[in-house]
C-alpha cells in the first residue's frame, strides 16, 4: 500500500493561476509605484520571500526539535513539516539576489547601509557596522545562508525518508542531523534577520530581532501546517490524524502567539522607555503616520488579542472550522507584521532621519514641560517660572533642528558625486499601504510556496511507517466525557 500524495493536474493548474496572479501583481506594483526606483516592488518581493522562507525553515526546525526531544506527537504530520521546506529551493537565493541587486544600485532598499559605509559621522558601533556590512562579507554571508538552507532541506528530506520508510536502526543517526540543523538554524536565522530586515534601517537596533522573527515564523508555520492538515484530510489523506493532533498544533500556535507578543512588547517598551533617538526614530516614523499606526495595532490585535480570546479555549482548538479560520487570520497577521518592517520607503534617509531625531527631542521637552506644568499647578499656585523656562528650551531645540537640516543638506550635496548610487532622483518618503498590489503579490508567492510544498510532499509516502514513535502518535486520545 502506498500513501503518496497525488499531485493532480487540477491542483497544479490552480496553483499556476495563483502564481500568474502574483506576476500580475508585480507588474501592477511596478507600473503604479515608480517612486524611489520602484522600491515598493522590491519591498513586496523581499517581505514575501522572507516570510515564506521562514515558514519553510521552521518546518524543518519543528522536526529537528521533535526528534531531539524524543517527541512522538508530531510523527503523523512530520512529512508535512519537512515538505514545507520545499520553498527553500528558491527562497534563500531570491533573498541573496535582492542584496546583490541592492548593492548594484538596482533598487534603493539598502541605501542606508551603502551610505553608512561612507558616512563621516562616527555613531556608536559605526566601525563594527562598516566591517559587518562590507559588501563582499555581506553578500557572501547571504549566499552561505541560502546554500545551507538548500542543502539541509534537500538532505533532511532524503535522510528522514530513509529512517521512516526502510531501516529504523538509522533513527539514532537522525538525532545528529537534527542537532546540526538546530545549530545551523539558530545562527543563520538570526544573522539573516539582521542582514535582510534590520539593515533596512541601519541606525535602528533591536538585540532580540532574531528571536522576534523566529516567533513570527513559528506562528506562521504552525498555522500553515494546521491549514494543510485540514486540507489534506478533506482530500482523504492522513486518516489517522484526528482532532487530538490538531489540538497539539493549536496549543503551539497559541503559545507562539503569546511568545511573539512578549517579544514585540519587550522590543517596544525598552525602546520607548530608554528614548534613544536611534531607536525611537523607528517608532516615530511608524506611529507618526496614520496608516502604519493602524497596521501596527492591526498586527497586535490579530496576532495577540485574537489568539488570547479565541484560541485559549480547549474546544476551539479542536474544532477544525475555528482553528482553520484562526490559522488563516494569523498567517495574514504575521504578513502585516513583516509589512510594518519592510514597507516604509525609504526605511532610512539621511534628511528624514535628522528631522525625526529633532522631532523626538522636541517632543521630549514639550512632554516634560506639560508634565511639569501639571505637577506644579497641582501642588503650588505659582507656576509661571517653570513654564517660561521650558518654553525657552523648546525654542532652542527648534533652532537645533534647523541647524541639523542645514547640515544634512550640505552633506547630501557633498556626498552626491562620490557614491550615492541612485543618482539625482529625489528620495521621497513614500508610505505604502496594503492594497490590491500587495494582495496579488502575496497570493502569487503563496501559490509558489504551495506548489513547491505539494511537489515535495508527492515524492515520498506521507506516513513514516517505520518511525519508532509512530504508535505513540497514533494513540494520542484524550476525550473528557
Amino acid at each position: 500500500m502506498t500513501d503518496n500524495f497525488e499531485f493532480t493536474d487540477k491542483l497544479k493548474k490552480n496553483l499556476f493561476i495563483m502564481m500568474g496572479i502574483g506576476l500580475l501583481g508585480l507588474v501592477y506594483v511596478f507600473l503604479l509605484y515608480p517612486e524611489n526606483s520602484h522600491a515598493r516592488l522590491w519591498s513586496n518581493i523581499l517581505a514575501n520571500t522572507y516570510y515564506f522562507t521562514g515558514i519553510g525553515l521552521f518546518g524543518m526546525f519543528a522536526v529537528a526539535a521533535g526528534t531531539l526531544a524524543y517527541g512522538g506527537w508530531h510523527i503523523l504530520v512530520k512529512r508535512i513539516f519537512l515538505s514545507l521546506s520545499g520553498f527553500l529551493r528558491i527562497g534563500g537565493f531570491i533573498l541573496a539576489g535582492i542584496v546583490v541587486l541592492g548593492l548594484l544600485n538596482v533598487h534603493t532598499l539598502y541605501d542606508g547601509v551603502k551610505h553608512i559605509l561612507h558616512e563621516p559621522v562616527v555613531t556608536p558601533n559605526h566601525t563594527t557596522k562598516v566591517i559587518f556590512f562590507a559588501p563582499v562579507f555581506w553578500v557572501s554571508r547571504v549566499f552561505v545562508y541560502a546554500g545551507l538552507w538548500l542543502g539541509f532541506s534537500w538532505y533532511m528530506n532524503k535522510f528522514f525518508a530513509r529512517t521512516d520508510q526502510t531501516d529504523p536502526k538509522v533513527y539514532k543517526q537522525s538525532k545528529l542531523l537534527a542537532a546540526a540543523f538546530i545549530v545551523m538554524f539558530a545562527l543563520t536565522e538570526s544573522a539573516a534577520s539582521w542582514d535582510l530586515i534590520m539593515s533596512l534601517d541601519p541606525h535602528w537596533y533591536s538585540t532580540l530581532f532574531g528571536w522576534y522573527n523566529f516567533a513570527s515564523y513559528g506562528c506562521a508555520a504552525w498555522a500553515m501546517t494546521i491549514l494543510l492538515v485540514i486540507y489534506l484530510k478533506s482530500l482523504g489523506y492522513l486518516p489517522k490524524v484526528n482532532e487530538n493532533h490538531v489540538h497539539d498544533l493549536g496549543k503551539l500556535l497559541f503559545g507562539f502567539s503569546i511568545f511573539w507578543t512578549y517579544l514585540w512588547f519587550d522590543q517596544f517598551m525598552l525602546q520607548w522607555y530608554a528614548n534613544i533617538p536611534e531607536e525611537t526614530s523607528f517608532w516615530v516614523k511608524r506611529f507618526g503616520h496614520g496608516y502604519f499606526k493602524f497596521t501596527i495595532f492591526l498586527a497586535l490585535i490579530v496576532n495577540f488579542v485574537f489568539p488570547l480570546v479565541f484560541l485559549i479555549k480547549r474546544g476551539n482548538k479542536r474544532n477544525f472550522k475555528i482553528i482553520g479560520f484562526g490559522s488563516a487570520l494569523l498567517i495574514f497577521g504575521h504578513y502585516v507584521d513583516f509589512f510594518n518592517y519592510t514597507f516604509v520607503e525609504p526605511n532610512w534617509n539621511h534628511e528624514l532621519d535628522h528631522k525625526h531625531h529633532a522631532k523626538v527631542e522636541t517632543e521630549k521637552v514639550v512632554l516634560y514641560a506639560a508634565n511639569e506644568e501639571h505637577h506644579t499647578t497641582a501642588t503650588t499656585t505659582d507656576a509661571t517660572p517653570a513654564h517660561d523656562n521650558t518654553e525657552a528650551v523648546a525654542t532652542e531645540v527648534k533652532h537645533e533642528e534647523a541647524k541639523h537640516e542645514g547640515e544634512s543638506h550640505a552633506h547630501e550635496t557633498g556626498a552626491e558625486g562620490e557614491h550615492v548610487g541612485h543618482g539625482e532622483a529625489e528620495v521621497v518618503a513614500n508610505y505604502a499601504s496594503i492594497n490590491i498590489g500587495e494582495v496579488l503579490v502575496f497570493i502569487g508567492f503563496l501559490g509558489a510556496f504551495l506548489f513547491l510544498f505539494f511537489r515535495n510532499l508527492a515524492k515520498r509516502p506521507i506516513t513514516p511507517e517505520n518511525d519508532p514513535y509512530l504508535k505513540e502518535c497514533e494513540r494520542i486520545t484524550v476525550t473528557y466525557s
Partner: protein, 185 residues
C-alpha cells in the same frame, strides 16, 4: 484527586503492577457497572481520567478568576499611585505610563493565579498541614497501581465478585482494608 468524604471505613483494594493492564482493567470494571471509589498511581498515567470517566477539572476556571483579580489589583493600584497619590515625572514619560505597568501587571496576574490555584487544589483535596491521610497501600507511591472500592454497603457476595473480577483483570493482589472509626478523615 478525588477524596470524597464519606463515613465508609471498609474497603476492597486491588493492586496492579502494570500501567497498560491497569487501564484496561478500569475500563472493563466500569463496563460491568462496578463503582470505583478511588484510583491511586505512583505517577501520572496518560488517559487515566478518560478511563475513569472523570469530568474536566474546573480548576483552570478558578485560575482565570484569580488571575483577573491580580491584574485588576495591579492596574488599579499603580494607576492610583501614579496619577493621584504620588505623581512623579520619570524621564519625561506621561503620568499614566501604561506600557511600563504591563510587566508588573503580568507578574501579579501570574502570582495570583498560581497561588490561588495551588491553595484551591490543597483545600479541595483536604491536604492542609497536620491532616493524616488514609493510606490504602504504601506501595502506591512505589510500584503499585491501586483501585479502591467502597465495601461498606456491599454484601459479601458482591465483595467476592469484585475480588474475582479484579483477579481476572490481572490484579496481582486483592485485599480488604478496614480503617478504625474516623481514622484519617
Amino acid at each position: 484527586m478525588s477524596a470524597a468524604s464519606t463515613t465508609s471505613n471498609k474497603f476492597v483494594v486491588g493492586l496492579w503492577d502494570h500501567e497498560e493492564v491497569y487501564l484496561h482493567a478500569i475500563e472493563h470494571i466500569r463496563h460491568k457497572g462496578i463503582e470505583i471509589y478511588d484510583s491511586l498511581t505512583p505517577f501520572p498515567v496518560h488517559g487515566l481520567e478518560d478511563a475513569l470517566g472523570y469530568k474536566e477539572s474546573r480548576l483552570h476556571t478558578a485560575g482565570f478568576f484569580f488571575g483577573a483579580t491580580g491584574m485588576t489589583l495591579a492596574l488599579t493600584f499603580m494607576t492610583w499611585v501614579m496619577t493621584t497619590n504620588y505623581p512623579i515625572n520619570f524621564g519625561g514619560k506621561p503620568y499614566w505610563p501604561v506600557p511600563s505597568f504591563i510587566p508588573i501587571t503580568f507578574e501579579l496576574t501570574v502570582l495570583f493565579s498560581a497561588w490561588g490555584m495551588t491553595l484551591t487544589y490543597l483545600v479541595r483535596n483536604k491536604l492542609w498541614p497536620g491532616r493524616v491521610p488514609r493510606i490504602y497501600d504504601k506501595r502506591t507511591t512505589d510500584d503499585r497501581f491501586a483501585l479502591v472500592f467502597d465495601a461498606e454497603k456491599l454484601s459479601d457476595a458482591d465483595i467476592s465478585s469484585i475480588k474475582e473480577v479484579c483477579k481476572k483483570e490481572g490484579a496481582v493482589e486483592v485485599k480488604d482494608k478496614v480503617f478504625a472509626e474516623n481514622e484519617g478523615l
